[in-house]
Subunit: 422 residues, 4 copies
């Protein structure tokens, strides 16, 4: 990660904004909601709030603020996620044991660290400033990643409750269900430069900028919709092995998947659990909460294919995103495509797009020194790259070179489908 | 269960007392403590509070209070424990999904049901009164059983937290460590009448009163102490298969048991987690939190044996309990034996005593009609009977004929050892 | 185990007969059949053949035959079953790793040990003879127990093969389907002496002879038939929780039990896999291959109950077995009851009878010294006693005081139901 | 797969040779060895022999030989591996249930199919000949793949036996332990054409020939040796998380990996189980039986990296293989590198080389129609590509474009390491 930041007061403001947004996300929760861990993938919201704070304490305050005293001697053990370099920690599957510290104490922890971060910024030594700003920026980007996880984890937690409580007290926005036809736009073959080439922040897995040779291909203008996915379901897509990768079909059969995650039939009609509670399916919204296996099976059924991550990046270079932006600080679901648009819609703002590329190192990739080297590099196996961004991604957090990644079976993120054809 | 209660106002007072004691037990908890379920045996405290309330709603208010409207239409689904007769329910291992209703709502539920119970008592139809009083008494006894579980479940929950938080803000009572020698008192052989023979409340598994022929035997005056159990540990008791039942030894080896539950070594010294937090071992207190396997291995190592439940009942008949009573409404740990006592100590007030008897029906046992017939009868396999009572048992809840039961591997209850010899 | 045997040549003949019978049982098998272990309960036939031989080598030849050299230095490691005292061994669930030694080598091992046993008997020192004869007798009884397991394990192994191959090349005996009505005969209450009181061989768990006080009861003249059990099935017995112990009902539901083990529906008709291959259900034969849970659920459904093991022994004392004997050396299935008989039929020769008694020690039970003390004592938990004997039990191996035992969920033995009523 | 074969008698000879080689591999086995399945990855040898025969019956004889009657109506159920298109089948983890048909019957099955294949070739219709020859060739290639699995599965099966029996009765070949220094040879960057470009047989996953742009890199002249790998082990490589991918480190820790598969310490010295039985480690032989995780950790520790599959193919194009060929029909282990060689050694003949490439489709990849389309395409997720070949690969079965693939955790194949550096 490399960057140049010159405006200190801008950073202070940004620090406030990002840290506050985390608390804004957690504001509708009961204390009881913040402590459970229904599956290993999902972390308790309280843990997210504390862990992102620990990240600043561990990597910013301890090394850079002289005489800093940690808020609590055991919190590093409690809230370290996976940094072996930092030491022992609560095992990932045991995060629900942390009923203490209670939520209100985690808020105190957040405030304590916030104050010391501001103090540090106010007094920081010029000579280390550049390095310090980079680590703070990493801390902010890290917290933004956890903001996305917070929304998806909260959704999962509430979905397991038989009462199906809504996260939001408001009604969902009324989207106008204009049908936008699927079209395919041309991306010319040739040599493309892949990876982050700017001079602001990026994650280490975007580096190792390198050239890739691509053939001509065509890419879908928008994401696959619920209505289109429902056709696949109704055509028996979940039970026809020919569309599926073998381990995906075995999983779907074993787990009795019949639909995306969160879809349920009620009175013979499909509904789905959302952050607004149980809602009817909006046919024109992009399908979300599907695994790579389902995305790939859908593509095969449709006679198309998924893109590679290199094709995705090339397409996004050729057709910068149009439409679908929103000014909301927190968005709780994807939006339908807009009519009368050219090029590519829904690139960054609705659902992550599964690519048929493994999360492997780019040529020349080198992980960072020390604990921060454990950020992405050690997860470069058995994970598929997702490109773009979703409704849950914080505004400003996306980039054309951004490489999100999850195992092929995961469904609790806002994941969707963009198709390609040759 | 059969009884005759004539004093209605006494029951109203008792209802208040029992229901209040549950809330008193939960008073030191954070809301976050009340929702987790670290192992399937342990239920969230919030669930206990709601389930005991549902029991009254389901079995008392719905059948006996005309026009009663349930507090919430889904609570029967949420808070039914295992009554198939009543309908579907949240699976036992999914109780931590119930982050909603929040704790404060469960308190409202309790109050709602309390008020209607009092209203019912004030207006109850004479003709059904006897039957009604019996079901209420069962509800109270049931709630008392959950009070014991609450204390042991809270202990387990807090023990999984790396901070090892104390339940009680106070210091543990200072027990005087007088050593009381183990002696064995004679119980003469003959025909004993076993089972509940009074005219107050008892559980159905105490019925089927019948005669049992016993041989002469001798029984230990007090419970086995921590100091005595430590000798077994230090003699290699946990690694010498000769003392163990085969499946116990396999379990102890697989789970790497080296001591009772909650014991840990710190600075080369044994300590144990208690409701007062981490404490030194008191050598004269009875050992607790051991499985039947450990109790039996200890007995074999000591050249003694466990009692059968019939021997236990006969011994308690011959030697009514002495000493060790306490006036505290809530007791958080067992107490050491008192010197200079005759007969049997620590029968009901410190640790349940594993017997070498399976929880099987007494001759002529018949389960109750309807849902309440699911209370004990369906658990009459692969469980061992424990007799007496423990520090966590509510005052007044024990009886000489009381049959507690748990699988042989369970350790999270206050379970201990009383030895016999022929 | 205690006995007095005076006739040495009779023992030599008996040794031949018992050892030969094991090989007779294995004669129809392919070498490939003798090595697999489809579930942990079932051992490879080759292993049984070697293990019973090892038992004689370890407990007879090594201690009693001077200069005896073991057949192979590793066989004790390979073929020790569960004797911790003897040392390390192949884990129970890994017996199918023993593709070597091949079957023909195991036959050589058997012959080697047989020859040395005869040599030992021919030359045995008078002073140790009594002790030696007792260990040999234990070895023979042990081998007979494995003969029963061989038949049931072979049945299980063949049943997992999709071709459903028959063990026997012959047709099943044509049983005449005379219906024998169920009647109940009286057993008077009183004090009964329980346990082995003779002066021949018995297992240690039959000792601790003691008196038991019983009430009057009545016992069924024969075993429950397939036709009767089918009524239970057709009445929805497997899905009505009210008849079941809770863990049995959970198991039956999880495992989707709809019938006894080995029953399958073909062309809408029930058939069952037998050692003669797939056969129609004979309605008058006793039902077999049911768990304790099913036996108990059936009894509840029928408004009866199972016997305790003490009641069983008392009943068998009062009504010695009639009919149902067979002169066949190896019997492959149970036989229907015979008409016009008085008293109790099918006590020892058709199906083991689940009792509602746990396999616990009798008063004063003491296990043997050394390794042989691991024979029964360490299995005295979470197992239910079965009384009588089955078609697979070797002739002459049964006794009125014999205590067989299995966990409540096991179904691969020839286990059946005899009912009681008070 | 596409090819042109003109010489029919050559194919008949080849058919004989390939089919015979399978039986030659199984010749040293006992019938008992051929039926077990110690882990799900390993299939019983008898199953391999029958399955490869079924493949010809299903895909050649049934469609092409008129009036062909299958050898046994159930064998398709028994010996289909994973072709959903063909119908139901024995589950993969249940192959050890197939104790029947016995081995001798499987030999009859092989002969029956062989005879009919020759008959078919002798009488085949000209018009379908080209298509027929292609399917037969696929059957032969398929059988060759199973020959490699036979050797590795037999090795695994024998390794689980406590006697550690040798597969081969001979002594291992005496390899001269000349140390060959590791050097790195240059491969120039540029555009390479990847995939099978010939006109003989290839698998479908080699197609979709396409151009790939590579940077300059350097590749190791030989494979990593046991001696070099031992340095990694002795440097604590297995316990230093910094070298490892996260899930690899978790696996190695959980499974307590300390060395490659089959290595054991005896008398404080490393030995390893081979097809010749337990042998000393030959320091100059290539290390084998390691997972992708270990290969990658080793590379990181050594300050190098693995190649991508495209780099491997480019390197093999630039430096065709030298040395290390053998004329043996069956080879049981890898050989040490030869001194004084230029370019790349041990490409195809000693150990498969893990690449840091996922087994994904090439651009334009299309699976075959019908059942044969299930050959490779459905396994294109969560598997890593291995390039080259191993000692167990049948002579003539390798190609520069060959893409072998296994999940990253598998170790029972002859898998090794070739390093790259930029």
């Amino acid at each position: 990660m490399h960057q140049t930041i010159t405006d200190l007061s801008k950073l202070q403001r940004r620090l406030d904004e990002v840290r506050n947004r985390t608390e804004l996300i957690c504001q509708p929760l009961e204390p009881e909601d913040t402590v459970v861990q229904p599956i290993i993938d999902v972390s308790p919201p309280k843990w997210h709030m504390a862990h992102t704070t620990w990240f600043f304490e561990e990597f910013v305050l301890k090394p850079y603020l002289s005489d800093y005293k940690v808020f609590h001697p055991n919190y590093s053990y409690l809230f370290n996620s996976y940094y072996n370099s930092v030491g022992n920690r609560v095992q990932r599957n045991a995060r629900s044991t942390l009923t203490r510290p209670p939520l209100r104490e985690v808020y105190s922890y957040r405030q304590h660290v916030n104050e010391h971060l501001q103090k540090l910024l106010a007094t920081a030594d010029e000579t280390k400033l550049d390095q310090l700003l980079q680590v703070i920026e990493l801390g902010l980007q890290h917290e933004q990643q956890h903001q996305e996880l917070l929304l998806t984890d909260i959704k999962y937690i509430l979905s397991t409750n038989p009462l199906l409580p809504a996260y939001s007290a408001s009604d969902p926005p009324q989207t106008i269900a204009t049908h936008v036809p699927a079209t395919y736009v041309d991306v010319p073959g040739g040599i493309y430069k892949i990876g982050y080439q700017g001079n602001r922040f990026c994650f280490d897995n975007e580096l190792g900028v390198h050239e890739v040779l691509l053939q001509d291909f065509q890419v879908m203008n928008r994401l696959v919709t619920n209505a289109e996915y429902l056709e696949f379901m109704e055509a028996g897509g979940y039970t026809d092995f020919r569309h599926w990768l073998d381990e995906g079909f075995t999983l779907a059969t074993t787990e009795n998947w019949k639909s995306p995650l969160y879809w349920i039939t009620k009175d013979n009609k499909w509904q789905r659990f959302t952050l607004y509670g149980l809602q009817d399916i909006n046919p024109e919204e992009p399908v979300t909460h599907i695994s790579f296996y389902e995305a790939n099976a859908y593509a095969n059924w449709a006679g198309k294919r998924l893109l590679t991550e290199f094709e995705w990046e090339a397409a996004a270079l050729v057709y910068p995103a149009t439409a679908n932006y929103s000014s909301d600080l927190i968005r709780l679901g994807p939006r339908a495509a807009e009519p009368e648009q050219h090029g590519l819609q829904q690139l960054y703002t609705d659902a992550w797009q599964w690519t048929y590329s493994a999360h492997h190192p780019y040529p020349g990739y080198a992980k960072a020194e020390g604990a921060l080297g454990e950020y992405n590099g050690k997860f470069m196996i058995n994970q598929m790259v997702l490109r773009g961004g979703s409704c849950a991604t914080p505004p400003g957090h996306t980039r054309i070179s951004y490489r999100n990644f999850f195992p092929a079976d995961k469904r609790w993120q806002f994941t969707g489908i963009r198709l390609a054809q040759k």
